[in-house]
């Protein structure tokens, strides 16, 4: 064989090696992400049209294209002041809770971990309530006391849960759920107590409905802005954790011997997960089970690899929650359901199913 022929053979081999099975999989990940993005944008548009007053898609489109056009004042107000911020809030809540769910499930090596179930949401709700009741005018770099305290309390709760629920390097389902149950109860009653300290009883009752049942109601653009910074930051920070999360799933010894700094990784997961939970809770209160259903369903389709799971779960969560929230505000139109009721109706059975199956597969 001549030298050039050898080089050619060599090159062919390299090309074949480069075209190993994983490469198409990476491409398909981007394809799925792209399709989900299109779906999300379409859904945001559709959800903006639907409501107590239905607005024709054409009208919504023309209002989007030219915000300052004459006429259509009522439609403009509905689209920009009421519906769009709310739909975007739902997307942020869904995305934040789903990614937080994936992160916590990886951290605890347990598919039952969800911000709501393990008490992280409860902590955020208490923090947010404290902010609303006691420091309504506080602001730090544009972040009000609501978001900041939600983050602090969610973080604190996670540290406590982590410290209480881990037994010898593992987190048995029973311990995790019991710790989550106890903490959630303590936090929920503390929230109620704090709310009752509010001087205005009408506001207090309204707050209780929001925080304890999970409802995305009149959302301000400023809230959407703060939450999108938090969710955006949390999402971007979660992606580099994907591969390490895979290693962490194998246990501490394995992760460490694979070169992972386990303590650092755990701190990062808790920090990012709490940030996402706090953003979601400061918009929608205690919306349960989203962080459980979405990762579970996405895992059925894309498998447990976290670097694929994180982006897809984020998008799927956003899509799911816009759908749920649109249903919540239209089913009993003109009155509204808290969206938490819908997610509980769907998520509760999924949770029980997982628990039942857990007896077999995820015991310990």
């Amino acid at each position: 064989m001549t030298q050039s022929a050898q080089v050619e053979v060599q090159e062919t081999r390299e090309r074949e090696a480069a075209a190993e099975p994983r490469q198409p999989a990476t491409r398909s990940l981007w394809a799925v992400v792209f399709i989900l993005c299109l779906l999300l944008v379409g859904e945001i548009f559709a959800a903006t049209c639907i409501g107590a007053v239905t607005i024709k898609p054409g009208t919504v489109a023309s209002v989007f294209v030219n915000r300052h056009a004459e006429g259509l004042e009522m439609e403009k107000t509905i689209v920009f002041q009421i519906r769009l911020p709310r739909v975007l809030a739902a997307a942020l809540v869904g995305c934040g809770l789903s990614i937080a769910g994936v992160l916590f499930q990886g951290l605890f090596r347990n598919p039952m971990a969800d911000p709501y179930v393990i008490g992280s949401s409860g902590g955020a709700a208490l923090g947010a309530t404290l902010g609303i009741v006691f420091l309504p005018h506080f602001s730090l770099l544009g972040f009000g006391a609501t978001a900041s305290l939600a983050f602090c309390f969610s973080l604190l709760t996670m540290i406590v849960v982590y410290w209480l629920a881990r037994v010898g390097g593992r987190t048995p389902i029973v311990t995790l759920l019991l710790v989550g149950l106890a903490l959630s109860a303590i936090l929920a009653y503390s929230t109620t107590f704090v709310v009752l300290l509010h001087p205005d009883s009408y506001v207090a009752v309204h707050l209780l409905t929001i925080w304890l049942h999970g409802a995305i109601s009149n959302t301000q653009w400023s809230q959407v802005a703060v939450a999108s910074v938090m969710v955006g930051l949390g999402t971007v920070l979660s992606f580099p954790l994907g591969r390490s999360l895979n290693a962490l799933c194998l246990g501490d010894d394995y992760a460490q011997q694979l070169g992972i700094r386990v303590e650092f990784l755990r701190a990062a997961i808790i920090l990012v997960g709490s940030l996402l939970t706090a953003a979601a809770v400061s918009l929608g209160g205690l919306i349960g089970f989203v962080g459980l259903i979405i990762p579970h369903i996405v895992r059925l389709f894309v498998g447990p690899d976290h670097s694929r799971l994180l982006p897809i779960a984020g998008l799927a969560g956003a899509i799911f929650l816009i759908l749920a929230d649109t249903l919540a505000r239209t089913v009993l139109s003109p009155s509204e359901l808290p969206v938490g009721i819908l997610t509980a109706f769907i998520g509760g059975p999924v949770f029980l199913f997982l628990l039942r199956r857990g007896k077999r597969e995820y015991a310990l």
Partner: protein, 263 residues
């Protein structure tokens, strides 16, 4: 010959329970060492100390002459691969996905795997003969297959030193033979091996060098030097009355030393 790994005057304890008292342990490149000793004598502790997963109270653990606790976790992971006794996988990872994780010490957080990474993964799977299982889910494999996957993860790290904690535990005798044969093959291909093994018969068959853990020290020597009833009886607390078991093992070893592993 240069020393690959050395534990020098290591003292270690869990709380008040002393495990090692000024113990020493040396591994030279290319060696195949079996770590033996009674339950709780510190076999796992020795392996975890060697892998840098535990920190010594006194004394030093040296890898290529450098202190392990001053090296980054990544650089240790590129030299030493540790196969823990148990691997519990909470999600439905496939064999392929697990073996790929052996590349973790070489990867940046967001970078895709390179051609070299795929080559290492494929080689690790073919050396452990699990290529046909690559799309199967780990949790659905048999014990022997799972053990081979664990070794493949370690091989994907392309380590110079492979530490295994009881790799033959809970396996039937045929699968035990497969694993031991695999370790032998890997060692002949140049990987240094230190494995905790309970079955002294297997040790006698497969390992030229032995480390006997007893009384918070580590005795190192060849298999024939250390696998003697007068040393094993006190180390395993046999008190003489059970010595016939040892003699029988001895007898087996001399009579049937050349038995071929059943496949």
């Amino acid at each position: 010959m240069k020393t690959l790994l050395e534990l020098r005057d290591v003292t270690f304890s869990y709380g008040t329970e002393g495990i090692f008292q000024q113990a020493g342990f040396t591994v030279k490149p290319g060696e195949r060492i079996a770590v033996i000793g009674r339950n709780g004598s510190g076999k796992t502790t020795l392996l975890r100390l060697a892998a840098g997963l535990l920190t010594t109270r006194q004394g030093r653990v040296l890898l290529d002459g450098y202190a392990v606790n001053e090296m980054s976790r990544r650089s240790i992971a590129q030299v030493i691969a540790f196969v823990p006794q148990q691997l519990f996988v909470p999600f439905d990872f496939t064999v392929d996905q697990l073996v790929s994780q052996g590349r973790t010490p070489y990867l940046r957080a967001l970078r895709n795997l390179s051609t070299a990474d795929y080559a290492a993964i494929n080689e690790a799977m073919s050396r452990t003969q699990i290529t046909h299982l690559r799309h199967r889910i780990f949790n659905q494999l048999s014990g022997g297959e799972q053990q081979r996957v664990k070794i493949a993860i370690a091989l994907a790290q392309q380590p110079r030193l492979l530490l295994l904690d009881e790799p033959t535990q809970h396996l039937d005798i045929g699968r035990q033979a497969e694993i031991l044969e695999l370790l032998l093959k890997l060692n002949l291909e140049g990987v240094t091996i230190v494995a905790a093994i309970h079955d002294l018969y297997a040790v006698q068959q497969t390992f030229p060098a032995v480390a006997l853990l007893h009384d918070r020290t580590i005795a190192q020597g060849t298999a024939s030097e250390l696998l003697r009833p007068e040393l094993l009886a006190p180390a395993f607390g046999l008190n003489g009355r059970a010595l016939p078991i040892l003699r029988r093992a001895d007898h087996f070893a001399t009579e049937e030393a050349h038995i071929e592993p059943v496949r």
